[in-house]
Amino acid sequence: MRDSDVLDKNPHISRSALEAIHDQVFGWALSRCNYDRAAAEDLVQQSYVELLAGKAKFEERSTLKTFVFAVIQNLAKSRYRRMASRMRLVTAMAQDAGDEPAAETTAVENPAVWQAVQRLPQRQRDIIELVFCRDMTVEDASRVMGVTTGTGRVHYDRAKKTLRARLEDGRESNDE
């Protein structure tokens, strides 16, 4: 780690270490903002501001990735709470009108899997995303979500069970 690489107000974080996890951080921010890219970029930028200003201090109690993900989660909760409720309202209205929900319109090759995940309750969806898509342990994922490891494990198991059932149902209905 070069000395000039270290953040002044966060001596345990280097610019290069942040750069290494940047894509994953952006992906996590993206899912926090209902896949609104501009909002996600702003959220990531805000998290870097917090790190640069030393407001969010990394003390090496977890991995840097877990820490930055938790910063993103907390910022999203506080700053984007109002926006998220508006988005939910818009999604609910779209569903009432018979439209597809916004998140499900994201272009993916296997929409059945994606839709099955998106239909999970928020916490189950979060832990599945963190463990399966962002390569975290259940313990780290629980830390990001601000729940105990035990609670995280319960959400994880339920999510997997629901997902499997939904994917099985999907396969069966395709076979018929």
């Binding site: 610019r15 942040l18 750069e19 940047h22 894509d23 952006f26 992906g27 993206l30 899912s31 896949y35 890219r37 970029e41 990531v44 930028q45 805000q46 870097y48 501001v49 640069l52 200003a53 994201t106 272009a107 993916v108 090759e109 296997n110 899997v113 994606w114 995940v117 599945i128 995303e129 399966f132 898509c133 962002r134 997997k160 997902l163 499997r164 994917l167």
Partner: protein, 116 residues
Amino acid sequence: MSKDDIALHEMLQQAQREADGVAPTFTEVFNAAENRIRGRRRMQFAGLTAAAIGVLAFGLLPTSGDEFIYVDMEELKATTYWTAPSDFLLPDHQIDIYRELPKLFESTEPDGGTLL
């Protein structure tokens, strides 16, 4: 991870990668964050400077009142006039102030033919 978990893992990672798309470059986002910090510091500096200037200006500007000016008594004579005070507080209502008050002067001892 079980065999099922691995299959689910691969499917989800693929779907997530597609949903995430391409992230904006780190340099772009990080530099913007640094600029935001610099901008905030500049704003704080400007605010402090403005406050300091305000305090200095307030301290240095002459304050009104308590100013001494020289007056020419002769000039003032023509512009001043005197009116009798109200007799409201006098012991007797409508007392003849011109007749009663001179008695006070008479009670003092004359000094060289003039009243003190």
